[in-house]
Amino acid sequence: MTIKRLLAVFACASLFAPQAGAVEKIEFWTFSMKPKFTPYFNAVVARYEAQNPDVKIEWIDFPWDVIQTKLVTRIVAGTPPALVSLNVPWADEYARDGLLTQVDGLIAPARASYLPSALEDLRFKGRTYGFPMYSNVAVIAFNTAIFKQAGLARGPASLDEQLAFARQIAQRTGKAGIAPALSKIDGLFMQQGLAVITDNRAVFNSPQHVALVQKLADTYKVGGLLKESLFAEDNFPAVIDAYKGGRLGMLLAPPTAMQRIRSDAKDIYAITDVAPAPLGPTGIADGGWLVHFAIPKGVPAQLLPSVGKFARYLTNDANQLDFARQASVFPTTIRAAADPFFLATPRNAGAAEKAVAAGALSMGHSRTLYVAGIDDYDELRRSLVKAVEAGVTGKQDVKQALDQAVAIWNRKLATLPRH
């Protein structure tokens, strides 16, 4: 008999679902922050809870490759976290599908403190969908020895100059001048003010686009572009290796790359100088990748003011500065980005410190460049990259290759549902 009773209790126990508390609880999610930033976030939470005793904050961190599935699960279940860390392409897709709450009202008290460029990144269909957290920007590092040999005195000021310098470097020194990430050619187009899609049609076979790719092809022909991994999904490892090995004249990278060069290739580091990355005609600097906090749909309306307050705290000047210093990224508030930590360069500043200063100066121009509004965009991008590869390497006429890619894109775009 006792066994039966035991079994019955056992059976009932299994039906108990873990209960959620009824106190004002705010759950916020980040990705890839543990274990390095565990102390940082724990401190932020502790400080906020001390100042706001009626609020309980729960911090959960996920690996970046699973955070999307967990978010989707919770949204479908109707119990989303109050805040979730996202990058801009993800946010674009979720906002399009109606899965994010707009935050114009909640961000209003602090709006002026954020970099306008960061806020622009988070504007979808005229509404703001997130609180900017951190971003990055590229600087251009150049090997002064190679430059001298090629007869160049200063860093390039535009893409055209980059390519021209690269050609000169190739002709006078036999080394490659620059290694653009051509797998992200769509971002390059956009930075140069050339739209990739207009009105749901692909337009990258216009004369201006063709001219740009042709310039790349010409530079490639004389050896100005680094051939290794030029079209790879991620060419950065090959590029930084080439620069460290003294085989590359210019390197376009975030300032953290300078630290790697300093530790791995001291001789190259000593002759490296740094300049802010050239802005395109759009005034956009390369290398932006904004991470922000968004509010998923389904967060109870009465909790929103609290959530907004916490979000503003999480992304205020002091916290952003603190985080950016630890993570070697850049903050997205005006004051933090202008902090002496970034801008003040010591007397004998090496490339790393100069890079940080140069980057901070460019932060106001940093935008996350991506093609918005298309599901499964990667597939399209790949056909574009293949076409550009054929054109740049000379295997196919540039206009012809781009025309073919445009045809592929338009076929796919025609089947997409309109939003």
Binding site: L7, A17, P35, T73, R74, A77
Partner: protein, 284 residues
């Protein structure tokens, strides 16, 4: 019938030994492929020195210690993972044995209208591609508010065709006379079931129980869909969370991996015959 006796030279002892040696060599080679990843993980978890991805790789532990294991316990909520795995497995086994034996009994020993239909339907689920169901089951579970609960993880797995069929076979092995005698004595079906049949098929219940426990412990996709909070993850999901968070600390990941599989391996080694018996039943 005349037997043709073809004269054959008797195999010498040496030839037999040679054949055995060859046999063992092949077995060893394949066993190495099967077991080496486990060995490497063990070596990595126990060593504390040396580059993990050095050429040549370490085949033997260097500076062995339990440091990495302790690190695992400190770094992630592995006790939570363990507890979740144990509880989910325990509840799954309990409910599965109960509900499947309940379903198997009438199929084995009762005559009733619709028997063939039910039997057919159960067989039909074997044909259905069940892996495909996770999407709709996920929607169902969310509509029942069972996300982040043990019940949500257990519910879809608790009644399966294989278990019902195995238990049905078990019931069929019980002599009909026992049942008839009990019926004559006026016992209700429930009494027959619980007092007579169940106790008699205990070995089969153990088999199904162990198979279920291991299957539940090892389940990965469904728990990872239902559970969204790391605290609720079972070990199988938690160990991947470990890899995602500690990507660069290979040794710690290796230690966590071992903690995950040691229970199953131990259970398996001690209960091998249950697995084999379960397979026998399935083949029939």
């Amino acid at each position: 019938m005349t037997m043709k006796i073809r004269s054959r030279p008797l195999k010498t002892r040496l030839q037999r030994l040679g054949q055995s040696a060859g046999h063992y060599a092949v077995l060893c080679a394949i066993a190495v492929v099967c077991v080496f990843p486990f060995w490497w993980t063990l070596v990595t978890a126990i060593s504390t020195e040396g580059n993990i991805f050095a050429f040549p790789p370490t085949f033997w532990p260097k500076a062995p210690s339990f440091e990495n294991f302790i690190e695992v316990f400190n770094a992630i909520p592995i006790w939570s993972f363990f507890k979740n795995s144990v509880l989910i497995a325990a509840f799954t086994v309990f409910w599965k044995l109960l509900l499947c034996s309940l379903a198997a009994y009438p199929l084995a020993r009762l005559k009733f209208r619709g028997r063939k239909l039910v039997f057919g339907l159960i067989l039909a689920t074997l044909v259905l591609p069940s892996e495909v169901n996770f999407l709709v089951n996920f929607i169902t579970i969310t509509q029942m508010s069972l996300v982040d609960t043990y019940t949500g993880v257990i519910l879809p797995n608790v009644v399966t065709a294989v278990a019902i069929l195995l238990l049905k076979q078990a019931f069929e092995e019980v002599p009909q006379d026992l049942i008839d005698a009990a019926r004559v004595d006026g016992a209700s079906e429930w009494v027959i079931f619980s007092r007579i049949m169940l106790p008699l098929i205990t070995p089969w219940l153990a088999t199904v129980g162990i198979l279920t426990a291991v299957e539940s412990w090892n389940e990965y996709i469904w728990p990872s869909i239902v559970m969204s909070k790391p605290d609720e993850f079972p070990l199988s999901v938690g160990v991947l969370y470990l890899r995602g968070t500690f990507g660069s600390s290979t040794r710690v990941i290796a230690a966590g991996t071992l903690i995950t599989i040691v229970p199953t391996l131990l259970a398996f080694l001690f209960t091998q015959r249950f697995f084999m018996r379960g397979m026998d039943g399935a083949v029939k």
